[in-house]
Amino acid sequence: MKTEEELLQFVTRRHFFSRCKVGVGGIALASLMGENTLSAAGMRQPDFPPRIKNIIYLFMAGGPSQFELFDYKPKLQEYNGKAAPESLMKGKRFAFMDTFSKAPPKLLGTRREFKQHGKSGLYFSDLLPHIATCADDIAMISGVNTDNFNHGPAKCFVNTGSTRFGRPSIGAWVTYGVGSESKDLPGFVVLQSGPRGPRGGAALWGSGFLPTGYQGVPFRSGGDPILDLSSPLGVTDNTQKQSLEAIRDLNLSKLAETGDPEISTRINAYEMAYRMQTSGPELIDFGKESRKTLQSYGAEPGKSSFANNCLLARRLVERGVRFVQLYHTDWDHHADLGAPLDNVCREIDRPTAALIKDLKERNLLDQTLVVWGGEFGRTPMGETRDDTTKIGRNHHIDAYTFLMAGGGVKPGQMVGGTDELGFSSVDPIHVHDIQATLLHQLGLDHTKLTFKFQGRNFRLTDVGGKVIDKLLA
């Protein structure tokens, strides 16, 4: 039997040599993902030098209305109340066809005030006063189209490139493709806020057919950020440390006996678990954040909110987490574009702006791409539900808006565009193009980032996707 020290060396050396070809990020990822999954996945190198290190993806679940926020359409206001032109509606399918078929839908001009902002003169409505102050740091992508007009499948599409559940999510593809730089946190973290979870749940950040180690790890708003991160009640620091030492020693002797390399991976996994456990409390402790920072986000320690999640997202990318995705729900305004929309905008406006500014001040915005968008947009036609005094909009998949900031994106510009009623895009950009662009910024060619499953090479962008060159600096 080898001595313990020799074995430890064996573990470390083996660990190092099997990873060195993928660089430091790969090493850290390797220890997170584990041997088995890695060999199955076959770690890849970036296809070309990456422009950025991290992505913070603010997912606005429910389908924010681009007409009330970004897509300023004087013509639509002019034609307010007129029936939607038949030429536009012909052959189009919508969710809730029954609502539309009862009475021919009428065009709806927004009641919100629009103004141009910054040197770039991008339009924002009065619902987003804080984000508007970042106009010159933001690129607006207008006229984005997607494939499905029902929430669950559409969310699945934006996240996995497929309307069918069970494919890997973009965060999983990214960590599979370029690994993570964090030694003690997962590479893909999911944060949630709003009155409920997003429709579709865990499938939206799942790993699909990629090894499960790449799936997003949902952080919880109360208690441990990661499930089971703290030692259980009654397990003292001593007990935890001594237990882990005993586990390691006994596993080492098993390794000596069987020679199974999987055991050395297990030993590493336990070491990383312990590091996660010790760094976790520091991560979620906002104590060292200045009052000014807390105020700018509107964050309140201990509270569960989008503001807190934005601040936490910054702390996560500072610690090397590759892909942070924030879900904020409650954007599905079928029946009322008044108070409910005011509320959700208030919840996200200040924190989003604070995040962009904070990253910029810390020189992190260049290496971090902030993405803002939902699963689809809303129709230029109004929709009325039970309360006939109020008006909302139906789901629309032909032309909606994304925002991006930082991360090698040329700011202060609008890419794409929509027709004068905002019904269709004039320069179509597809969700697969957005996905291709995100991967591109991380040094990944979306046509090469594939995984063979059931006899076929799958990729995030299926058979589509074009990098949006105009968007990039």
């Binding site: 999954t37 029902n150 979870g197 429709r199 579709g200 259980p232 586990i247 678990a273 006899g455």
Partner: protein, 801 residues
């Protein structure tokens, strides 16, 4: 091919009024539309090809050029414009037009060639091989060993010695029942020195009801079984009866061919039994979507497409789903053939429009228990009574004249009260047990090719059929015909795919490593003759799964040691030769089960509705709908992992982390990952603390008094073996340290041995004795709980060796 065609052309030109038709087609169309590439399903090589047409239907209607797709395409009069990006010369178009007008005559000759890939090994019926001779005949226990050893001898590799009896017993117990052996079972096996001792164990395990749970769960992976609807809403659904059917079918060793027929088409068999109806839940395990604003037909189609793909993966080991939008890129399966399979499965009576929204997930089979029936009858009687009362009252009311100052009749207090009563009652309709099943529509739906896989773009109509490359005779009709064909001895794949999947659970990977792809791009079998021998043996033994399990686990090959072999690092690092056994991490459910058996907590009830073991707070808060999770306060808390309620969009956290499938598509093999989050779960999750506490008590009650005796026993119940001296020494050192720790810190000790109340406000009084632990014993119990926790976290514990 071109030469052959040319000959045909030369021989036949005289028959045509338009001698240039063939050259026109050849020069302009056949580059894409030939029998090899069949773009859009269309070949133009033979008369039959032209008449059958492609995905849009027949290309030519003899005598009717205006209605012929071919002519429309070349004239570019409709949306179809051919050839892409150019146009034929007017005289060429005229010639084609004239040819169609005059009846589109074609020589009575065929140029049809065997389809590409038709000679692929997996598409030929398995032939029964003779087990090869081996030099070391004493190694052979059954023909499996002949095949394995012959290959090893050929490669000059020595097999590994038999593993020790402790490991062998734990291995075979976990493999056949998913539960580790008890100390008593270990002692019995060690004591039994008779030559048949091991076979006795195997027979005992195969006769255990836990066998059906273990192998049933493997099948449920394939069946994409879950307790909820998936998609957006993901509400609970009633289908656990199907899960129980699977378990029972395996326990009574229902022949696999009948097992398949019942699941695909039990309802279409003559006089189907209740069991056969329940079995059809197999294809009802597709996710269902009913969020507001959807087109139900779209998701019905999605479910049928999934059934085609699952049928391909589960029985044929083929990626048939790839042919949904276009012909299969690698295997000889056309898009038309995908929709021919689709046609078998397209006729179930499921919701397909908004008007039926109240009735999603139909059809169901009602299976009320006697109590439920009684409750329902009482309810119905009361409902009849109240309706009757209401009717009488309405009559009386109607008879009364209404004065000008009387309130309108519908505001009559007596009426309103009666309506309210009836309404309140209907809301209390007692629930009865149901399960989702298949039921055929009286009149089958018409099936069309979906152009580009889009259900709104209808192509040519098709009737049911199976891929021609897999069948020597045409198969058509309803689901029952499909089911029978799947298990017909003529089918080259089903038996092979099934024994291969069995094999992978015993050796870590299949004889065909790509267990879900037996097609042209799949892996070649490492032992092709063994695979065919097993497949033919399976059928010869009346498709008995238990017989095959016994055959495999009693082979010498299976009983080898799993020690890593340095001498094979270069020649066979992936153990394709099976020169040793493999160490494999336990599956998510089995890990839990093993901890439950070790701590003596397991509730061994087989079947019943899914259960709700404790769950960390907030674990169900990830989705739109707030899910109920009524934590089990009775013995259901300690049921086997396969009974844990499975929500597709919010899986029980301990499951997904350990690679349990997400139940969206058929899962034919689980990944075995190894991650820090798994470590955190076993280390810190309250579930494992609860198990550890119970294990500590068990050790205290059942083992001797000394530390050594107790540690020996702890090893036996968790790892199924005795500790090595060094292990015993290391764990003793830990125990002593912990004893000190908890004697000093009695508060922590009390917290650790306290009843679980932290994550679940309901105490488990029904399970744990009320007896107060003597405060003096608390530190000792805490120290042993810590020891238990270490044992649960050993690689050894979570690995089948």
């Amino acid at each position: 091919m071109s030469r052959k065609l040319a000959l045909v052309f030369v021989a036949c030109t005289g028959l045509y009024a338009q001698p240039n038709v063939l050259p026109i087609l050849k020069q302009n169309c056949q580059a894409c539309h030939n029998q090899r590439s069949k773009t859009s399903g269309l070949a133009l090589d033979t008369k039959e090809d032209i008449m059958t047409g492609g995905n849009r239907g027949p290309s030519v209607k003899p005598g009717l050029p205006a209605e012929s797709l071919l002519i429309q395409a070349v004239e570019q009069s409709g949306d179809l414009k051919m050839p892409p990006g150019s146009k034929l010369k007017p005289e060429q178009i005229a010639e084609l037009r004239q040819w169609v007008e005059q009846g589109a005559k074609w020589p009575e000759m065929t140029t049809a060639k065997p389809r590409r890939g038709a000679d692929h090994w997996a598409f030929q019926r398995p032939k029964r091989p003779t087990p090869p001779e081996v030099k070391n005949a004493s190694w052979v226990r059954n023909p499996i060993d002949n095949f394995i050893l012959a290959r090893l001898e050929r490669e000059n590799v020595k097999p590994s010695p038999e593993t020790d009896r402790y490991t062998l017993l734990r291995r075979v117990s976990l493999d056949l029942t998913g539960l580790p052996p008890t100390p008593q079972e270990i002692q019995e096996f060690l004591a039994d020195r008779s030559p048949g001792a091991y076979e006795k164990v195997v027979d005992r395990l195969l006769a255990s009801d836990h066998y059906g749970e273990r192998w049933g769960r493997h099948w449920l992976d394939v069946a994409r079984y879950a307790d909820s609807d998936g998609y957006t809403i993901d509400a609970a659904r009633p289908i656990w009866k199907y899960r129980d059917w699977v378990i029972n079918a395996l326990n009574r060793d229902l022949p696999f061919n009948q097992f398949v027929i019942d699941q695909i088409a039990g309802d279409l068999e003559p006089n189907p039994t209740t069991d056969q109806l329940i079995a059809t839940g197999f294809h009802r395990n597709t996710p269902s979507n009913y969020e507001g604003g959807i087109d139900f037909e779209q998701y019905r189609v999605e479910a049928v497409a999934d059934r085609v793909a699952t049928t391909g993966a589960a029985f044929l080991g083929l990626t048939i789903g790839c042919a949904r939008c276009h012909d299969h890129k690698f295997d000889p399966i056309s898009q038309r053939e995908f929709y021919q399979l689709f046609a078998f499965l397209n006729n179930t009576d499921e919701i397909s429009s908004e008007a039926e929204r109240y009735d999603f997930n139909r059809p169901f089979l009602e299976l009320p228990t006697p109590e439920e029936t009684a409750r329902l009858e009482a309810y119905r009687a009361q409902r009849v009574m109240l309706s009757h009362e209401l009717a009488t009252y309405v009559k009386t009311l109607a008879a009364k004249p209404v004065g000008p100052n009387d309130p309108p009749r519908f505001k009559d207090p007596g009426l309103q009260e009666r309506v309210a009563n009836l309404r309140a009652l209907t809301k209390r309709e007692p629930k009865i047990t149901t399960t989702m099943i298949m039921r055929e529509l009286p009149k089958p739906r018409e099936t069309y090719i979906h152009l580009g896989g889009d259900f709104l773009r209808r192509g040519a109509p098709v009737t049911s059929g199976v891929p021609s490359v897999l069948s020597s005779k045409p198969v058509t009709g309803n689901r029952l015909e499909l089911a029978k064909w799947l298990v017909d001895p003529d089918n080259p794949l089903t038996a092979r795919v099934t024994v291969n999947r069995m094999w992978q659970f015993y050796f870590g990977k299949g004889i065909v490593e790509t267990e879900n792809d037996f097609g042209l791009l799949g892996a070649k079998p490492t032992h092709p003759e063994l695979l065919d021998w097993l497949a033919t043996e399976f059928m010869a033994r009346g498709w008995s799964q238990k017989a095959m399990h016994k055959l495999i686990v009693t082979s010498t090959a299976y009983r080898q040691s799993s020690r890593h072999r340095k001498d094979l690092d270069e020649i066979d690092p992936d153990n394709h030769l099976i020169a040793h056994q493999s160490r494999m991490r336990l599956e998510a459910e089995i890990l839990r089960d093993t901890a439950l058996v070790s701590s003596n907590l397991l509730t061994p009830v087989v079947g019943g509705p899914s259960v709700y073991p404790p769950i960390p707070e907030g674990a169900m808060a990830v989705t739109q709908v707030k899910r109920e999770w009524p934590v089990a306060k009775n013995k259901d808390r300690y049921r086997r992992g396969l009974y844990t309620f499975f929500y597709r969009s919010a899986p029980y956290p301990g499951m997904g982390l350990f690679d349990a499938p997400d139940a969206t598509t058929a899962c034919t093999r689980r990944v075995r990952s190894n991650s820090p989050l798994q470590a955190l779960t076993i280390l810190n999750d309250e579930t494992y603390i609860e198990f550890g506490r119970a294990l500590a008590k068990r050790i205290e009650t059942e083992a001797g008094k000394t530390d050594a005796e107790r540690l020996n026993y702890a090893f036996l119940v968790t790892l199924g073996r005795k500790p090595q001296p060094a292990e015993l020494e290391r764990l003793t050192r830990f125990l002593v340290l912990q004893r000190d720790e908890f004697r000093t810190d009695t508060t922590s000790a009390s917290l650790l041995v306290m009843k679980p109340q932290v994550f679940d406000s309901s105490p488990v009084d029904a399970l744990e004795e009320q007896a107060v632990i003597d405060p003096k014993e608390i530190p000792e119990l805490a120290a042993w709980t810590a020891v238990s926790r270490v044992l649960f976290n050993l690689d050894d514990f979570m690995t089948r060796e």
